[in-house]
Amino acid sequence: MTATQIQAKARIKSRTRKPWTPSQIILTLLGVAVSAVWMAPLAWALFTSLKSETEAVEVPPHWLPKVWTAQAWKAIFETGNITNWFVNSLVVSVCVTAIVLLVSALAGYGFARTEFRFKGALMGLVMAGLMVSPAVLGVPLFTTVQQMGMVDTYWGMILPQCAPAAMVYILYKFFQGIPRELEEAAFIDGAGRWRVFFTIIVPLSRPSLSAVGIFTFIASWNNFLWPYMVTNNPDLMTLPNGIATVMNSYGIQWAQLMAGGLMAGLPLIIVFVFFQRQIVAGVAHTGLAGQ
């Protein structure tokens, strides 16, 4: 993405909107400068992936390929396991997202709107869970999963990612803000708890649920540490994993590595382009931003 493209885009829009003021011009130029710096590494990866391997390591480096070639992109599909890893990533992330959404919405609602024994103590326990991640307690978590016989299985990759205290907490906060009268009216009409949950609460919480879902998907798709610990079998690896551990072992082929990396990032970037309005609205809605 070059500065001129961005400016051109801005210019097209400006016809339909307010005229340029000096402060808007300065801000836009600043925005272009920051964006250029932030996009440069990605542009560099893209251009590298379109060079030949020999041109990629030429000194001094140059931005644009002298000879444009898709050879690196072809090579990652032909030699690597990349389609396989892609499918693994998809299976793992979709399962994690579905389970997390269901489980944390139910739990968040339970904590926000129902009473039961030991609720306070359990809530405290969940808050303690906020501090536990595979990074902190990776070794004991691994031995636990090993005990269950889930090393090198899909379940071993999926289930340990499915108890996200943070998501429960976010939804708990959100559900607390829904007016109680809505539920009470439904109870009087004879609806049960579950019916109230699925027909009233869930539709009302769509923005929050989609934010939780999208962030869970991003985290799971990009998760490196846990799949790295729990899989040794290259056929089961997820995309970030496969790229890091296997591609490097061939000796570094930079053009291929960049093509593979862009492949891994592309699905989420496309998702973000289409859903960014919902994502920003979701962050605002969940109270993540407000607190």
Binding site: A56, Y109, L130, V139, A163, A165, L257, M258
Partner: protein, 319 residues
């Protein structure tokens, strides 16, 4: 549906709603009370997963930390506080903890400031808002390994772009003095998007009428920023800093990818998580690795509890 419609439904409650219920307000309350008791079932699925993959590993980690367990934990002997005593005198524990802390100290202030400035830009530029959001957020959408590989490539002294663009000749990845800095730069670029989004959402939720009122009173842009924007963003800044401290202390991915799973030049980038995993999975000392995991858990928990304590104190101070 609003409160008024709920009251409208409440009004005929003196008549029996269903033949089985008595219908008085008292029994209605009793019925709702009974419904509330079923809450446990909503929590149950989460609780099962939470118990298996959070609570149990903590308990197991505590148990293993008092043993000399190797790979599977089978046939482990109880060794008392030996692992903890050893960890206390292990220079690598202190070094790796120092590296994680140093990283956190560099990353957290930079990310907070950059994310805030980016959010201000994206919020105030009137045109092509989606494009700024995309540009600032896109790196966050890459897997950590890709970010790591990309910066390993950019920092490459001969063929990389960083030296070429800056016109310098630094051996970023082989000098002890710049090694961690390289990880920090990669992290800033890669993760600032998330904090940026939090700030952006917070900026959008500041009511416009505050600014309009301030303008009427003759406040200039600087005054509006200092007296409205910054105070309204105080909570989100606290959240960004807290999340960032917890995440930064747990740094692992980028550092190991940039240095090809090694400890970096003169072992200067080995982080605490990395050391734990090395002991557990490379040296097969699961008992010892569990002990340092528990130490780490206690450190993280103290940071988080410390923040909660500070928050509570501040709230009390307001009252």
């Amino acid at each position: 549906m609003t409160a008024t419609s709920a009251e409208a439904t409440l009004a005929p409650a003196s008549k029996p709603i269903r033949s089985t219920s008595a219908g008085s307000a008292d029994s209605l309350r009793a019925r709702m009370g009974r419904r509330l008791q079923h809450g446990g079932w909503f929590i149950a699925p989460f609780l099962v997963l939470f118990a298996l993959f959070v609570i149990w590993p903590i308990l197991r980690g505590i148990y293993l930390s008092f043993t000399d367990a190797n790979v599977s934990g089978v046939g482990a002997n109880f060794v008392g506080w030996d692992n903890y005593r050893e960890a206390f005198h292990d220079p690598l524990v202190w070094d790796s903890l120092g590296h994680s802390a140093y990283f956190t100290l560099l990353v957290v202030p930079c990310i907070t400031v950059i994310a805030f400035l980016m959010a201000m830009l994206a919020h105030h530029i009137e045109r092509a808002k989606w494009l700024w959001r995309l540009c600032f957020f896109a790196p966050f959408l890459l897997p950590s390994t890709v970010a790591g590989n990309l910066w390993q490539w950019l920092f490459n002294p001969g063929t990389g772009m960083v030296n070429y663009v800056l016109g310098i000749d630094t051996a970023w990845l082989t000098e002890k003095s710049t090694a961690m800095l390289a990880v920090v730069i990669c992290t800033l670029w890669w993760t600032v998007g998330f904090s940026f989004l939090l700030y952006l959402a917070a900026l959008q939720s500041i009511p416009d009428h505050l600014y309009e009122a301030a303008k009427l009173d003759g406040a200039n842009a600087w005054h509006r920023m200092v007296h409205i924007t910054l105070p309204m963003l105080r909570n989100i800044t606290g959240l960004v800093i807290a999340l960032q401290i917890l995440a930064s202390l747990q740094v692992f991915d980028q550092a190991v990818v940039i240095y090809d799973f090694g400890p970096g030049p003169e072992e200067s980038t080995r982080t605490f998580v990395q050391y734990t995993l090395e002991e557990g999975f490379t040296s097969y000392r699961v008992g010892y690795a569990s002990a340092i995991s528990i130490i780490f858990f206690v450190i993280i928990a103290s940071v988080a509890l410390g923040r909660m304590w500070l928050l509570r104190k501040r709230e009390e101070g307001v009252r």
